[in-house]
C-alpha cells in the first residue's frame, strides 16, 4: 500500500457510504485474488478502479455486490457491518452492479426485463406499474431506451442502458460498472459519462472498472489502482498524472526488491543470452497489412493492423485483454473472416481460408482457451495429439483408415519429448493437469514442424515450472529459425521473450518497437491508450 493517504482519511468518519476493510479473497484453487484491500466509498463520488488483468478489480466489486463472499475482512456501513449472501441482498441495501456481459433476456422487452429483476418467487409481475416507474426514471435521469422492443433488437449501448435502468430502478446508492465502455462507440461513451455525472449530482456513488487511462482521468473523482490483488494507489484524480497512474498499474522496481521483469529474467537465463545472439535469419514469414475484423457482437475489434514477422524472431503483442488480440489471432488462423486487409504466409494469402489449409502452409496455433479450442477433453491423449493433423498421410491410411499404431507411436514420442505426465496414450485428456494439457497442445503444434507458431496466452494458468518449460520451448523454436507470434496479457512474459513488441489498444497497435526501447511507465501508458509522443 504505497499511497494510502486517500481522501477518506481527511473526511469525517461518518461521511462514507460503505467501507471494505482489509478484504482478502482466496479462491478454492489457492489463487489469492485480493490481499487486505481497504476501500472507502463516499456518497457523490465516482471512483475509477484501475488495474491490469487479474489485478483483482472484478473480485473486489463482486464482493461488494454480494456475488462472492470475502475470505477475510468485512464490509461495513455507517450502521455497522453488512454481509450479503447474494446480489439481491446487496441490491436491497442499495448496491447494484452492471456486468461486462449483460444479464438480459433477449426476447423480453426492457420493461419485462426490469420487471423480471424485481420478481420474487410467486410474486405478481406488474408490467404497467414497472413501465410507469421506468418512464419516470427515464425522465429523471435522461436515460432513454425503447421500452417495448425486445432487447435483442437493441444496440449494445442501449442494452447497457437497460441494464443500468434495471439497477437504478432499485434505488441504488452505489452503482458498479465493469468495463462499461469496452462495447460502446465514442458517442455512447460520452452519453454514459454524462449520465454518470447526473447520477453523481443526485447523490449516487459510482465505481467504474476500467483499464483506459484517458477515461478514468476524464470522469472520476478518485482513482484506486490495484496490482496483483493489492491496492497500490488511492489518489485524487486532479492530483494524478497519467505517468504516475501507468507506473502504479504496471509496477515499478523498488530498491532491494526484484521486479517481476527481473524475476522472469532470472527464470529465463537463456532468454536474454539467446536474445543477444539473435538469429540473423530475416526471412519474412507472416505479412499482415491493414487488417480489419469485427468481433462477436459486430463491433470493429481489429482496426487496421500492419506488421511483419520474420523467421528467428518472437513478435510479442502485449495489451489488456479484449483489445482485439483474440480476433487478430482468429483471423490469422482461419477461425474468423476479416472485413478487409491482407495477410500472407510466405506470399500465400491466408485470409478466408479454413484452418486445415492454413496449417498446411506451416502455421501452428496454440490457442488461448485450451479447454474450449485446444482440446477435445473427453478424447484420449492420442486422439487429441492428432487434432488438426489427423488427415496427414502419416496418420491416415487408405480409405481414410486411422492408423492407430502410428498415432500411438506419435503420442509416445510427444510424451517423451515434451515431458507430458499421463498414464498412457489412452488416458482421457481431461484427466491431465493443466500444465500437461498445455504441454500436449504445444507439443502437438510444434510437432507440425511449423514455419510460424501463433501462441496465444501460452502460459496462462500454469504453474511456474510448466510456464518456464513452455517459454523455453518457444525460445528454442525461435533459435531454430521459426517465426513466433506471441500474444499474452502477461506483460512480463512478453517483455522477457519478445524481440519485437507491439502494444494493442482498441484494435490498433499503439507502438511497434524493440521492447528495450520503452520503459515500464511508457508501456503502461500505451496499454492504457495514451500515446506518448516522446516514444514515437
Amino acid at each position: 500500500m504505497n499511497e494510502n493517504a486517500g481522501p477518506g482519511a481527511r473526511r469525517d468518519a461518518d461521511g462514507y457510504f460503505l467501507r471494505a476493510e482489509a478484504i482478502t479473497k482466496i479462491y478454492s484453487d489457492g489463487t489469492v485474488a485480493l490481499k487486505e484491500a481497504t476501500l472507502e466509498i463516499h456518497p457523490r463520488e465516482i471512483i475509477g478502479l484501475l488495474g491490469e488483468n487479474g489485478a483483482g478489480k472484478t473480485t473486489l466489486t463482486k464482493i461488494l455486490s454480494g456475488l462472492l463472499p470475502p475470505s477475510h475482512g468485512r464490509v461495513v456501513s455507517p450502521r455497522g457491518p453488512v454481509r450479503f449472501a447474494n446480489p439481491r441482498e446487496a441490491l436491497d441495501f442499495g448496491i447494484g452492479m452492471v456486468h461486462q456481459h449483460f444479464a438480459l433476456v433477449g426476447t423480453f422487452t426492457a420493461t419485462e426485463n426490469v420487471a423480471l429483476s424485481h420478481e420474487r418467487p410467486f410474486s405478481r409481475i406488474r408490467l404497467a406499474k414497472t413501465r410507469e416507474r421506468l418512464e419516470a426514471l427515464m425522465e429523471e435521469s435522461g436515460l432513454r431506451v425503447p421500452l417495448d422492443v425486445p432487447v435483442e433488437k437493441l444496440a449494445v449501448g442501449e442494452q447497457q442502458r437497460v441494464e443500468i435502468l434495471k439497477v437504478l430502478s432499485r434505488d441504488v446508492q452505489l452503482l458498479i460498472l465493469d468495463e462499461p465502455t469496452s462495447v460502446l462507440t465514442p458517442l455512447e461513451v460520452d452519453e454514459l459519462f454524462a449520465l454518470l455525472h447526473k447520477l453523481k449530482e443526485k447523490g449516487t456513488s459510482v465505481i467504474l472498472i476500467t483499464h483506459k487511462l484517458k477515461e478514468v482521468k476524464s470522469i472520476t473523482d478518485r482513482i484506486v489502482v490495484l496490482r496483483h490483488g493489492e491496492i497500490v494507489g488511492d489518489v485524487r484524480t486532479a492530483a494524478a498524472t497519467t505517468e504516475r497512474l501507468a507506473q502504479l498499474m504496471v509496477g515499478k522496481a523498488l530498491e532491494g526488491e526484484p521486479t517481476a521483469v527481473e524475476l522472469s529474467a532470472d527464470q529465463l537465463p537463456q532468454t536474454l543470452a539467446a536474445r543477444r545472439k539473435k538469429a540473423s535469419s530475416s526471412e519474412g514469414i507472416l505479412h499482415v497489412a491493414d487488417l480489419v475484423a469485427r468481433g462477436n457482437t459486430g463491433e470493429i475489434a481489429v482496426n487496421g493492423v500492419t506488421f511483419d514477422v520474420h523467421g528467428g524472431e518472437i513478435f510479442g503483442i502485449a495489451g489488456v485483454e479484449g483489445n482485439g488480440q483474440s480476433e487478430l489471432v482468429e483471423c490469422l488462423t482461419g477461425l474468423r473472416v476479416p472485413v478487409s486487409g491482407v495477410a500472407t504466409i510466405r506470399g500465400t494469402n491466408i485470409l478466408g481460408k479454413d484452418p486445415r489449409q492454413i496449417y498446411r502452409l506451416g502455421v501452428a496455433h496454440v490457442p488461448e482457451d485450451r479447454w474450449r479450442l485446444g482440446l477435445v477433453l473427453p478424447f484420449t491423449l492420442a486422439e487429441n495429439a492428432i487434432l488438426g493433423v489427423h488427415r496427414w498421410e502419416e496418420f491416415q491410411g487408405p480409405f481414410g483408415i486411422l492408423r492407430r499404431g502410428k498415432v500411438n507411436q506419435h503420442v509416445r514420442k510427444l510424451m517423451d519429448r515434451f515431458d507430458i505426465q499421463a498414464t498412457g496414450p489412452n488416458a482421457p485428456a481431461k484427466s491431465l493437469s493443466g500444465g500437461n494439457q498445455q504441454k500436449l497442445i504445444v507439443g502437438r503444434e510444434l510437432a507440425k514442424d511449423p514455419a510460424i507458431i501463433v501462441a496465444s496466452q501460452p502460459t496462462r494458468g500454469l504453474d511456474i515450472g510448466a510456464a518456464k518449460y513452455i517459454r523455453d520451448l518457444l525460445i528454442e523454436m525461435r533459435d531454430n529459425g521459426r517465426a513466433i507470434l506471441l500474444v499474452s496479457a502477461d506483460l512480463d512474459e512478453v517483455l522477457a521473450l519478445a524481440d519485437q513488441l507491439a502494444i494493442m489498444y482498441e484494435g490498433r497497435f499503439m507502438t511497434l518497437c524493440r521492447p528495450d526501447s520503452l520503459n515500464r511507465e511508457q508501456i503502461g501508458m500505451l496499454m492504457g491508450g495514451v500515446a506518448c509522443k516522446e516514444v514515437a
Binding site: R372, F379, Q396
Partner: protein, 385 residues
C-alpha cells in the same frame, strides 16, 4: 478395533466413488433392473403376480432356441434404428427421425416386387434402394440444419409424420397388393432374407444388423471421418480449430443414420415371414415404434455399437417374452406392461445423467455424505476413548 474407522471410511469412499462414477455399462444394467422393479410394482398394484409374470417373460424370451430366435428377430431392426440415433448423438445431434426413415426404407424395399431379378442380387438391390431412400429422407433435415439453422429435433419429428403418411399412401394406393387392399405387394422369394430357424421370424437379416453395427464401430473409431464426427460432437469449437468442417460431419452423420434406418425398414419388409409385406390397412403394426424403440436401445447401449447389440437382445427379449407373458395361464399380464417397463428403463437411464447435469444435487449429496462420514468418524473416536 483401531483399524475399524480407517477401514470403514475406506469402504464408504469406495461406495461413494462407485455411486458417483458409476461405470456406463453398469448404469445400463442398473437402469434395466430399476425398470423391471417399477414394472413389478405396477403389476403388484394391479393384482398380478410379478414373479410369475417375469418368469413367463424370461422363459418366453430366452427359454429355448425358438424363444431365442424370436427375441433376436425382434431385436434385429432395433439394432439398426438404434445406430441411427447413436451415430447422430456421437456427432452432437438428436436425430429423432429414425421412425420416418425406417418407414420410407420399408416402402423402398417393397418396391423390389415391381421387377424381377436373380435371387440374391434382387435382395441386394432392395437393400441398396432402401438405404438410399432412408438416407435421402434423413439428409433433408440435415441440410435444413446446416444451411437454415432449423433444429434437427423439430424437423426430424415433422419428417416422421410426413414419412408415415407418405408411406401409408404408398402402401394403400401405389404398391398395394391388387388382390388384398390391406397390404402391400409381397416381396418375391428371390429378394427375401433366408429364414435361419424354421418356424420363427429369425432371418439372415440379423447378420446384416450385426455387420452394420460392426462397420459403424469401425467407421467411428478407426477412420479419420469417424474421428472428425466424434470430435465435432464432443467439442465443435475445438473441431473447427482442428480444421474439421462441422457442416460436413453433420451431413455425414445424418446420411449414415438414414442408411441404417432405411436398412431397418428393409429387414422388416424383406425378412418377416409369412407375409413379406407391410400391412397399410392395419396402420403399420410391424413398423410402428421400431424407430422410437431404437432410441431407447441406443440409450441403454450407451450409444456404442457393441452396447447396442447387447441392448437390442434385451429389448427384443422383452418384446418376445411379453407376448408369452400375456397368455400365461392364471396370470395374464397385458402386453402394455412391457412398454411400461421400457419407459421406466429409459427414465432410469436418465437418473445418473440428471445427477451429472445438476451439480447442485451432486454437491448437496456429497455434503451430506461428508457430514455422515464425519459423524461416523467422531463416533468411532468416541468409541475408542
Amino acid at each position: 478395533m483401531t483399524e475399524n474407522p480407517a477401514r470403514e471410511s475406506r469402504l464408504l469412499r469406495g461406495v461413494h466413488r462407485t455411486v458417483t462414477g458409476l461405470h456406463p455399462a453398469l448404469e445400463s444394467v442398473v437402469a434395466g433392473i430399476v425398470g423391471l422393479l417399477i414394472g413389478a410394482l405396477l403389476m403388484y398394484i394391479w393384482g398380478f403376480d410379478p414373479w410369475k409374470a417375469y418368469w413367463a417373460l424370461l422363459r418366453g424370451a430366452f427359454g429355448g432356441s425358438y424363444e431365442w430366435a424370436s427375441s433376436l428377430a425382434r431385436g434385429t431392426p432395433l439394432v439398426l434404428t438404434a445406430l441411427t440415433f447413436s451415430i447422430c448423438v456421437r456427432a452432437g445431434m438428436f436425430n429423432i427421425g429414425a421412425e420416418g426413415q425406417m418407414m420410407m426404407g420399408a416402402m423402398a424395399a417393397v418396391c423390389v416386387a415391381l421387377f424381377a431379378a436373380p435371387t440374391g442380387l434382387h435382395l441386394v438391390i432392395g437393400l441398396v434402394f432402401a438405404a438410399v431412400i432412408g438416407a435421402l429422407w434423413s439428409v433433408v433435415p440435415a441440410l435444413l440444419k446446416v444451411y437454415r439453422g432449423v433444429s434437427e429435433v423439430i424437423s426430424t419429428i415433422m419428417f416422421n409424420w410426413i414419412g408415415r403418411w407418405l408411406a401409408l399412401y404408398l402402401a394403400i394406393y401405389v404398391i398395394v397388393d391388387p388382390m388384398r387392399a390391406e397390404k402391400t405387394l409381397t416381396v418375391p422369394a428371390s429378394a427375401r432374407f433366408p429364414i435361419l430357424v424354421r418356424g420363427t421370424d429369425l432371418s439372415a437379416s440379423v447378420f446384416l444388423a450385426v455387420g452394420v453395427a460392426l462397420v459403424m464401430y469401425f467407421l467411428l473409431w478407426h477412420t479419420t471421418m469417424g474421428y472428425e464426427v466424434r470430435a465435432a460432437g464432443l467439442n465443435p469449437t475445438a473441431a473447427r480449430y482442428g480444421g474439421i468442417r462441422n457442416k460436413r460431419t453433420m451431413i455425414v452423420s445424418f446420411l449414415l443414420g438414414g442408411i441404417t434406418s432405411g436398412l431397418a425398414g428393409a429387414t422388416i419388409a424383406m425378412g418377416l415371414p409369412p407375409s413379406y409385406a407391410i400391412f397399410g390397412g392395419g396402420g403399420f403394426p410391424e413398423l410402428t415404434n421400431i424407430g422410437f424403440d431404437g432410441m431407447a436401445v441406443a440409450m441403454v447401449g450407451r450409444n456404442h455399437p457393441i452396447g447396442i447389440l447387447l441392448a437390442a437382445i434385451f429389448f427384443g427379449g422383452l418384446n418376445a417374452g411379453g407376448r408369452v407373458m400375456q397368455f400365461y395361464g392364471s396370470n395374464p399380464v397385458p402386453l402394455e406392461m412391457i412398454r411400461v417397463v421400457m419407459g421406466a428403463i429409459v427414465l432410469a437411464m436418465a437418473i445418473p445423467e440428471l445427477i451429472r447435469l445438476f451439480p447442485a444435487v451432486k454437491k448437496q449429496g456429497e455434503r451430506l455424505f461428508a457430514a455422515l462420514r464425519r459423524r461416523r468418524e467422531t463416533r468411532s473416536k468416541e468409541g475408542e476413548a
